[in-house]
Amino acid sequence: MTLLSARGIHVHFPARGRRGAVARAVDGVDLDLAPGEILALAGESGCGKTTLARSLLGLIRPNAGTVSYDGVPLKYDAASLKRYRRQVQLVLQDPTGALNPRHTVYEAVAEGLRIHGLTDDEPRRVAEALARAGLRPPERFFLRYPHELSGGQRQRVVIAGALVLEPRVIIADEPVASLDASVRGEILALLLRLRDELGLSALVVTHDLGLAWNIADRLAVMYLGRVVEIGPVAQVLTQPRHPYTQALVSVLPSTLGDGGSRRPIVLTGETPDASRVPEGCRFHPRCPKVTDGTAETAGVAEACRTKELPVLDGVGPAVACHLVDGRLPAAGGQA
């Protein structure tokens, strides 16, 4: 049973340069988020994960496809969206930018309450949210300004601002990327604790696979607007099946065995522009399996070049690759 689900999401933007060109930021994605689950959405810049996250929030309206919450499709009129916001909240990447520098911590956290007219017992709710986010005693922080806090504390304020509305889902866009390395663990531990204590679900958008390993249950890897592999974190990261995932995992510094036991697969070139998505499998121009002939030997090279892959289901485990041939046995079968 899913809490938040997306079906067939397409988001297009007008592309710079040639007239009529369209950047297919999200090009067909199904995604499901269960209650109390942490799903990591990983990929490099340009893969569409940020755009997808914002579509799930209703901040961007997809050109095609539906976002459903608790089984009910999202409607895009102001009232429905406002109601939706109480259920699904956002935590942004840069806590310094995310807080209005002229508002105190109290005002920043209370903002959500005031917008939704939940003004009874406001100080108590604000204090509770701050305490849950790890800022104790909360009163000490009420009148502080963002620039008086450290990066980690600011991010906790942003999280408190999201928690105060008592949502059931938090969508976090690179929640720790702007923070000092040693402080990241704290914020990640906080997200895990919130999941355990409040039953919050979370969709964490990140480029850092280590983060996914650290806190996520499932992982979806995106490339150029599509999900190319999805499944339980342990499986996807230790036994990646899609060549792109394999390459990403291989360039992570690893200490398993000796440092060089897994030769890094460094892809050449860069991710193509979203307005020039390759034909067939969108990864085929850079795919190591195509260049080293494995695809040819397996007889799928032609398919890689010409046949488009189906959209993966929102739960997985699944892989979008002609070589691997898509479906793994459903949950219960061995990987």
Partner: protein, 330 residues
């Protein structure tokens, strides 16, 4: 301290001890003691911020000079009915000679009807300042509304607003004033409207640019994600961040408005029964003071305009310099 049962007493005491009670919220009458404590703390912070601002402003000597001159002018203008005898303005009660040069009785000489030029200048200050400030206020209000709306909304509304702005931008002030005078009759209101309607586009464009910059910041997105509607976004986030810029540009606008008032009054479009610096110049010109060599009649309003305009400009520049580094930091 952190359990769910936070009573107001707890918060009040916690606030007294740690000085951190919540900031006054506009609702919830049940939080009175808490509110007062918080309000006093918030007020203290504001005073500290103001003190910081003043310290920074003081460093710009030009701004301080301008402020002094403006303050003096304002005081004189406001106190005119008290410190001078308004009877001196009445033509029938004039006691001086025609176009007398400055002497002990009339420090700046007399006009062509025997009135003290100094007295006229003091009373003229009232009109000039009034018109300048009112017209600017009008321009600022319209400009801010249009600018923020044009920057915040996208699509046809923004495009429409920008086209309207462009239309008013190219409207020639003088021609509009003359046309208005023909319709409404020459009066202060005519001048105020003429100046206001032709000044607001400049402000609107500047504010729109700043609005676009602010809108791109992450905390606006966060506000949207929290469920904020347009009104909330514009008033709680955009306006406070745009106000400093508005203030700085307004000061400069007043200078321009006073000059315009002088011009339009000079051309006879203002209220004929009121003295302003512009009308003084007009009469000086019309009564042949120039050819008669009555420099005091011409120089007095001229220098007065110069001083006030200069002061506003200096203040405006100093304001910009003080507010800009902080603007950039945001």
């Amino acid at each position: 301290m952190t359990d769910g049962s936070m009573t107001e007493d707890n918060v009040a005491h916690g606030g007294a001890a740690a000085g951190s009670a919540p900031v006054a919220a506009p609702d919830g009458a049940a939080r009175h003691e808490v509110t007062t404590k918080a309000a006093s703390i918030a007020w203290r912070r504001r005073r500290a911020a103001l003190a910081r601002f003043w310290r920074e402003y003081r460093r710009h000597r030009g701004g301080v000079v301008g402020l002094i001159i403006l303050a003096a002018t304002a005081v004189i203008a406001l106190a005119a009915p008290v410190i001078t005898d308004p009877d001196g303005l009445d033509v029938t009660k004039a006691t001086g000679g025609v176009l007398d040069p400055p002497n002990r009785e009339f420090l700046l000489g007399t006009d062509e009807q025997g009135r003290s030029v100094l007295l006229l200048a003091v009373w003229g200050a009232r009109i000039s300042l009034l018109v300048g400030v009112t017209a600017t206020l009008l321009a600022m209000v319209i400009g801010t509304l249009v600018g923020i709306a044009a920057g915040h909304f996208s699509g046809w509304l923004s495009a429409a607003l920008m086209r309207i702005t462009d239309w008013f931008l190219v409207l020639p002030r003088l021609v509009l004033a003359i046309a208005l005078a023909a319709v409404l009759g020459p009066s202060l209101l005519t001048i105020i409207i003429a100046i206001g309607l032709t000044s607001w586009p400049g402000t609107a464009r500047v504010i729109r640019a700043q609005t676009l910059a602010v809108e791109a910041r992450p905390y606006l997105e966060r506000a949207r994600a929290l469920g904020a509607g347009h009104w909330h976004q514009m008033t709680r986030h955009v306006l406070p961040n745009v106000m400093p810029l508005v203030l700085a540009s307004t000061t400069l606008e007043v200078a321009s408005a006073i000059l315009s008032e002088a011009t339009l009054s000079f051309l006879g479009l203002g209220d004929p029964s009121r003295i302003s610096w512009g009308t003084m110049l007009s009469r000086a010109y019309g009564s042949g003071a120039v050819t008669a060599g009555s420099w005091w009649y011409l120089l007095t309003p001229g220098v007065a305009i110069l001083l006030v305009v200069l002061s506003f400009t200096l203040c405006g520049r100093a304001l910009e310099a003080v507010l800009n580094p902080r603007l950039r930091g945001r």
